[in-house]
Structures are given as C-alpha cells and as structure tokens.
C-alpha cells in the first residue's frame, strides 16, 4: 500500500498535539524589555556609570552561568534570558558608585549560590538578584549605601552624594524630607520621575509602571502580588507611619519611594520564588507589605523591600503547601 512507506515517517507522541506559543525565553526577554524604560531613566539621572554598572552585572551574570554550565558539560541556558534578567535586576538594584568588583561578586552569588547550586532555573528558593544584593549590602555596608545625586543629563559624572528619601525620613523625619524637596507636590513629582537618590533602577516610578503595564497586559504577571503588596504598604503607612498618632501617615511617600515599585512588580512576582497558587500569592504580597513597613518604620534599615521579599521567599513553599486551589466538585465532597 502507498501509505506503508509513509508509516515510518509519522511521529508518535502523547497528546496534546498542538501547543500555545509562550516559551520561557519569550517571557524572560519580555521582562527584560519591560525594564528598559527604567534603565534609560537610570542612565538619564546617573550618567554613564549607570550603564557601566548594569552592563557589568549583566555580563558577569551571563558569563558566570555559561562558564559554570560549560565546565560541567551541561547545556548552557543563557539563551532563555533568565541570567540576563538576574544581571539586569541586580544592576538596577545597585547604587551608581560601586567599585567594579561589587557587580562581579554579586552576580556570582546570585547565579551560582542562589540558582545553579539549587539545580538551576525553576528550583531556586530565593530570588537570585535579591540574594546578590543582600549579600553585597551585608558585606559592604558602606560602599552599598553611597548614593549619587541625580543630575538629569545623560553625560554627567557628578560625584556629589546624598541620602535616599527613605534614608532622610528615617534619620530626620518628614520635616527634613520637606526641607530637601520643597513642598509635597515637588516631592511626589521627584519621586514619580525619579529625580532622587537611590538604586539605579528603582527611582523612576513612571518608567517602572510603563514596564509593569506591559507585563500585566501580556499576562506574564497578575495583579495578585503587586496589588496586595502595595495595598498593605499603603494601609500600614497610613495607619502607623504618621508622627501625630494612628491613621495620619502619608501612604504616597512610602508607595513611591524606595524599591517598592521595582520589587512589587518585578521581583516579588518572580515565578520560581513566589507561591504558584493565586490565593497564596495574595498572602505572599500581604506578608511582603507587612515586613517592608515593619522594617521601614521600626527596623535597623531605612528600606525593607528586599528583605521582605527574601523573607517571604522562605515562606513561599510553606504557603504553597497550605493554600490549595479549589478543586472542581470539591464542595460536595466536604459535605459528606
């Protein structure tokens, strides 16, 4: 029969025989793309140093992953964009003025210790970029808290340093923050566009929100974590952040400053290290918010987003264990 010859060419595999078009690489590279506005703003405010630091982070992250995998005779996975993303996020989380070895050490910790030793992408417990950053902050507390003053031009190498808004708030309170920024409207505006000291990628709230909108639109992240995270921070800031008693705080200052937007949309939502069930993600977001504000208001550090996300990373497997999605037909079962 004519088909006899054909028979051996047919491919046999298990259903389904058609697949959606999403791939890990597509998702990761889109996230990278969504951070582009924030990166551009960082170069605008902090000059070529910003590009240098971020580039060095990306380069060392990608190279580290490649060398590790090649030297162990494994398939290199740098094409999926996750190492690039780790480097990029680490870079955006560093101050502009760090010496060259800080990005390299940070990338090594992020890629090797946090990701590859755990079995690679998909198995890490902690967000690699954040562990890299935390490691650096604890190791080099002084170098990691030198903040350059934003200059608002692409070329400048202004060496003037200043404190971050949250740093000022912690040290001198709201009054001093007002002295530095003028009135509240000026403060909000500076925080929105990113004209303030801080880690490279965290300053420009508008640029970050543009990227976040892309991710939300594409469905790569959902509202659950960012919303519950931001809402908790807002409520906590309003309730406990005021100088004149409960419910007098200014939630906007806390929402717009620090690494909150960057953390809530781009790092707390890291698939691998957050709970995978949506209900659990809300718990996760609320936890992040609570710890962030606890540290900001009472703790030893001016900013708590990084530690909050890392601490909730610890709890994510526990949350995943405790929160199960509702199974089809489960109501009747319980009544029995």
């Amino acid at each position: 029969m004519a088909t006899e010859a054909k028979a051996h060419e047919l491919i046999v595999s298990v259903s389904p025989h058609v697949r959606g078009k999403e791939t890990v690489g597509r998702i990761m590279w889109t996230v990278n793309l969504s951070l582009l506005p924030a990166f551009i703003m960082s170069v605008y405010y902090f000059g070529p140093l910003a590009a240098y630091v971020t580039g060095l982070c990306i380069l060392s992250a990608v190279l580290t992953e490649h060398i590790y995998q090649v030297s162990l005779n494994k398939k290199t996975t740098i094409g999926d964009g996750s190492a690039f993303l780790t480097g990029l996020l680490l870079g955006l989380n560093l101050p502009a003025s760090v010496p060259f070895y800080i990005p390299i050490v940070g990338s090594f910790i992020a890629i090797v210790i946090t990701k590859l030793l755990f079995g690679g992408l998909g198995y890490n417990i902690f967000n690699p970029a954040l562990i890299g950053r935390a490691f650096l902050l604890i190791s080099f507390p002084r170098l990691m808290t030198i903040w350059l003053k934003p200059t608002a031009q692409f070329v400048s190498l202004d060496a003037k340093t200043t404190a971050t808004p949250l740093g000022i708030l912690k040290e001198g309170g709201l009054d001093q923050l007002m002295q530095v920024f003028g009135d509240k409207a000026d403060l909000y505006m500076s925080l929105l566009v990113g004209n303030r000291a801080g880690s490279l990628g965290e300053t420009s709230v508008i640029a970050l929100l543009i990227g976040a909108a892309l991710l939300l639109y594409r469905g790569y992240i959902t509202w659950h974590i960012p919303f519950s995270f931001l809402a908790t921070v807002g409520v906590m800031a309003w309730a406990l952040g005021g100088d004149s008693g409960f419910f007098t705080g200014d939630p906007l200052i806390h929402l717009l400053s620090g690494g909150l937007i960057l953390g809530a949309f781009f790092m707390a939502t890291d698939y691998v290290t957050c709970p995978s069930i949506r209900k659990g993600q809300i718990v996760f977001g609320i936890g992040c918010g609570l710890i962030t504000m606890l540290i900001r208001l009472k703790g030893g550090f001016p900013e708590g987003v990084m530690f909050a996300i890392l601490l909730m990373n610890c709890f994510a497997p526990l949350i995943d264990r405790g929160v199960k999605s509702k199974m089809f037909g489960a109501i009747k079962e319980q009544k029995k």
Partner: protein, 208 residues
C-alpha cells in the same frame, strides 16, 4: 565490632578524617558556625572539645566494668558535665577575653552528640588506650574542622588571621556573620564531598 581490631594510628586517623564529626558525620554542628568567625575562637573551642572528648573516653573506659547498663546514660551525662564544668571554669579564669565571646558554647559542649556517641559506642566497650586514641582522633578531627572553617571565615571576612591583618581593602563582612558561617560550612562540605567523589570514589556524605 571491627573497630576493635584497628591499630591506634588507624583509630586516630578514623576520627580525624573517616568519621570527621562535622564534615562526615554531620553532628555537633552548632559550634562549627557559632565560634568559627575567627581562628582564635575556633581553636579555643576545638581544644576544649578535644580535651573533653579524650577525658570522657578515658574515664568511661576506665569505669566501664562498674557502670550498670541501665543507668549508664545519667552516668555518661554526669561525667561529661563534670569535664565541661572544669574546662568552663578554667577558661573563665585564664582566658577571659575568649570566654566572654564563646562562653555559652563552651558550656553547651555538654550537649554534644559526638561526645556522648563515642562514650556509648566506643569507650564503654573498649580498653583505656584505644579509647584514648579514639577520643583524641575525634577531638583532633573536630579541631581540624574548626581550623579549616575559621581560617576561611576570618580571612575572607576580616582579611586577618589570628587577628593579624593580612589583606587590605574591603573584606566580605558577611563571612563573619551568621549567614556567611552557614554558607562557608555548606560550601566546604560540598567541596569535601566533591573531592571524595572525584578522587576516592565516595558517595558523598550520607546526610543526617
């Protein structure tokens, strides 16, 4: 038990490497991090443990014919606690600065599983001399582990060894902090496993 047939040197070696308390047996882990932020503390605790381990082994071995099996556990406890008290008081008197930092961990030697385990497994069944070498081997093994870990931690974390500055610049402060301690032990353990697997055909630590 085959252990009884081993020569004294073998007993010593077994304690130092084959059954290294920390890297191979993975017991008595607490001090491996708590006191290894500097060589001085690490060595001090290592020597204390070595002393207690050896003395307990000798004492138990000497008393082994008189201890009724039913009450052996409290007796072991008493003997261990006695020696720990002695070293605790000695340190408190003669090594004050170190004692201030690691005093709690000296006292906690009393709850070390490794000391108890050797008394139970070895000393209570063997003559005094082999027990001495067994205890000494375990003690030296522990001391070696302490030295290795605290060497790396002090060097990386402060750029110093025994308090003498060796490297200038910005050290990795984290290495002398708790987190760095865990990381250092984990990485060293992994490294030793790797060496063992690569060159001696071992299967890696059994895990707890």
């Amino acid at each position: 038990m085959s252990i009884q047939k081993k020569s004294n040197w073998e007993l010593l070696k077994n304690g130092m490497f084959g059954e290294n308390t920390i890297f191979r047996m993975a017991i008595s882990l607490c001090p491996s991090i708590a006191v290894t932020n500097g060589l001085k503390n690490g060595v001090a605790l290592g020597i204390s443990v070595m002393f207690v381990q050896t003395m307990v082994n000798i004492t138990i071995s000497a008393m082994r014919k008189f201890i009724h099996p039913k009450i052996r556990i409290p007796i072991f406890m008493l003997v261990i606690a006695g020696y720990v008290t002695i070293i605790d008081m000695l340190m408190a008197t003669y090594a004050r600065t170190i004692y201030r930092e690691i005093g709690l961990y000296i006292q906690i030697i009393v709850a070390f599983a490794s000391i108890f385990a050797r008394a139970e497994v070895f000393a209570s069944k063997n003559k005094i001399v082999p027990s001495l070498f067994d205890g000494l081997g375990m003690g030296i093994g522990f001391l070696l582990a302490m030295i290795v870990i605290s060497f790396f931690r002090e060097l990386l974390g402060k750029g110093e060894l025994f308090g003498y500055s060796l490297i200038s610049g910005n050290p990795l402060l984290i290495m002398i902090l708790p987190a760095g301690g865990f990381l250092a032990v984990g990485l060293l353990m992994g490294f030793f496993n790797w060496v063992d697997m690569k060159f001696y055909g071992g299967k890696g630590a059994s895990g707890v």
